[in-house]
Symmetry: C2
Subunit: 402 residues, 2 copies
């Protein structure tokens, strides 16, 4: 297991306190990050239905999943083996049977069928059909929406979790360096993505890397106006801007990092945008400390950038940590107007004031931790636009000038 049993028990206790506050007797945890957080369970099995059943009056949760995944659950969780229950394979991708029928039956056997049951209503791995199947098969239960209940427990990290995120930061740095190195006139987007992946996963001599919950994104040229396009096999050309957004990942904990690279001499417009973004980032980071509202960081950004006529439509960032595809964001607090989350030590955020216009865009981001009296960056990487001037040496060596 990744953490000591005591840490899992603490997390479970906090979860039960929230359940009690919400009047929930039984919580069905289907978010794989929440399942991992409470038990240690770590496998790429979330493409089939699975869950933890957390009963408020039982000391151990019950893992339920596919038969072939039960061995993995026994191996990676702290619970007793009898708390690992599995359904037969004919429930998988069936048009006739649904795993929630099995789970409703199990809940009935456990005498939970008349209780208040919390479900994560707005979450990738709890489908509309899962919900209606439970409703149909547990007519005497009362269902409550508990989306993000466990996510809010996750928002404050333990010191060990922070150490994992620092390691993820080291991986992000070395992958960013490899990406910048691999981007040059004549190389391909896929070549750069391959180099980034290699560094992310090989890791360092001391520790290996895990897969990030979002693939590295490399929008190039005109495509920098669209932040979530992935790579293809086009060649980079002089005059291209390339946005690199990636995250290092260590034992499912993330540290994202974004930079913009320019091949050749950037336009004055891009240079100006770069200055505005750097100034804004500096001004926001200076504000970070426990006790303030998250929206105050947004106010600092607006104050810093409004004078240049910049208006940002999208949020400036979000809480990060443990996660699984398709997102490394925690789905709790966002750095934006009206978010009145009060900052506390060991909260962690990806602060990404990306600017996207119709024809171009720029991204520079930092992942940070709130400390006792300020801020700690999770990565140490030269901030701002990275300019690569091709020297055209015969051996294809390229220089990096920023």
């Amino acid at each position: 297991m990744t953490f000591e049993v005591g840490e899992y028990l603490k997390r479970l206790k906090k979860t039960k306190q929230r359940m009690e506050k919400h009047g929930v007797d039984v919580l069905l945890v289907t978010d794989p990050a929440n399942m991992n957080y409470l038990t240690g369970y770590d496998a790429w099995s979330f493409y089939v239905h699975q869950m933890l059943i957390v009963m408020i009056d039982e000391p151990q949760p019950i893992w339920v999943g596919r038969y072939m995944d039960a061995n993995g659950a026994k191996r990676t969780t702290w619970m007793h083996d009898e708390n690992v229950v599995s359904y037969p394979d004919y429930f998988v991708n069936s048009h006739q049977f649904h795993p929630m029928e099995y789970i409703a039956k199990l809940l009935t056997e456990l005498k939970q069928e008349k209780r208040v049951i919390g479900v994560e209503m707005d979450q990738y791995y709890f489908s509309a059909k899962s919900y209606t199947t439970l409703l149909d098969n547990l007519p005497n239960a009362t269902f409550k929406d508990c989306t993000s209940l466990v996510n809010w427990v996750r928002i404050i990290k333990s010191d060990q979790e922070i150490e994992f995120m620092r390691r993820a930061g080291t991986l992000a740095e070395q992958a960013m360096q490899a990406g910048i190195h691999a981007i040059h006139t004549g190389s391909r987007e896929c070549d750069a993505a391959a180099s980034i992946y290699y560094e992310l996963i090989k890791g360092t001599e001391e520790f290996g890397g895990d897969y990030p919950s979002i693939v590295p994104m490399l929008p190039t040229g005109d495509k920098t106006s669209a932040p979530h396009l992935t790579w293809c096999d086009d060649h980079f050309e002089e005059g291209n801007a390339v946005i690199i957004e990636l995250a290092g990942c260590y034992k499912r904990y993330h540290a994202p990092l974004a930079r913009t690279v320019f091949l050749g001499n950037p336009t004055d417009r891009l240079k100006k945008l770069d200055e505005i973004v750097k100034e804004g980032i500096e001004n926001v980071l200076q504000k970070v400390k426990p006790g303030i509202y998250l929206e105050e960081l947004e106010e600092a950004w607006v104050e810093s950038t409004r004078k240049y006529g910049i208006e940002k439509e999208s949020r400036l960032g979000y809480s990060i940590g443990l996660n699984y595809p398709p997102d490394w964001g925690e789905h709790t607090a966002s750095i934006r107007k009206n978010d009145r989350t009060v900052l506390e030590p060991n909260m962690t955020f990806h602060f990404i004031p990306g600017l996207w216009f119709d024809q171009d865009g720029i991204e520079t981001s930092e992942s940070f931790r709130v400390t006792e009296d300020g801020v700690e960056l999770l990565t140490n990487f030269q901030r701002g636009l990275i300019q690569k001037i091709p020297f055209h040496f015969p051996d294809d060596t390229k220089g990096i000038i920023s």
Copy 2:
């Protein structure tokens, strides 16, 4: 765009024929693979709510997503720009607003609010909350479950799609070779995963690779009993079995491949299992041809392996093709008992008769296409257990003997 507009129009036509058959006027397509299939849309934006609205009497679908992703939709789809509609960022990860409120309003403006609306009820990217929000905001609509409606259109591939899958097969072969090379006494699981990723994504000189919808899986030693565990940074040791399950991916089309590697001399038990699996695979592949039921392949497997006392709990395989995380399976036909899908030319499957026991497991798989009169393998890779004998050369060179 990846395909010509004519191919997208054909796919849309087939989808509408199915909608008509099911009595559905409006189909809300939320599966990113289905969105890509009908329009070309390709971005890692499915971690926020998005969809295609397919109206049976309108020539073009409407893409709806987050504001910052609209540029990507305009760029990668065949529809007119006015058919790309986006919601403001304050809907994202909000505890107050839900994107389906916006979409319900849009459907009302489009005068679709009293029609029969099909939704993909059992799909990762249509949450329980999405469904209840639509129900609440469209009280006069009738909802029908259309899970896998578009998936079933996808099951027969065009010749261009098959060519993409052959390319994916080439990537799978070179990644498998790299993985086998990187697995040796003293190297780490993450080193092997990094080498596999590098080859998958760098691709060949002719074409680059895309990210597979499932990460490479590398269960090692005891962990071979749990097929969906991913890598860590443990070192490989002599006596380890290592299962490699991966897929090459080209423009979102997959060709999966699994092999089992043994460091040193395998036990007689593993050698025997290997022979049984190879014989079973041979017997099944000989049966493949258009016109038979899929369950006949399962019967061939049972007939081949029952005499050795082997009973397989899980299905033997599934339809594959275009996909996004978290699964490369198509969620339509499965190679198992009671699946009466009739094989047709250009159907494609991952045939993976993995055997997992309490202490170990073995996986050997093939991805295949049904041809006019038989079968074509999508990869060409030596079948069966791969034995690596360490020679302990001072320069760490390792030999491969199979």
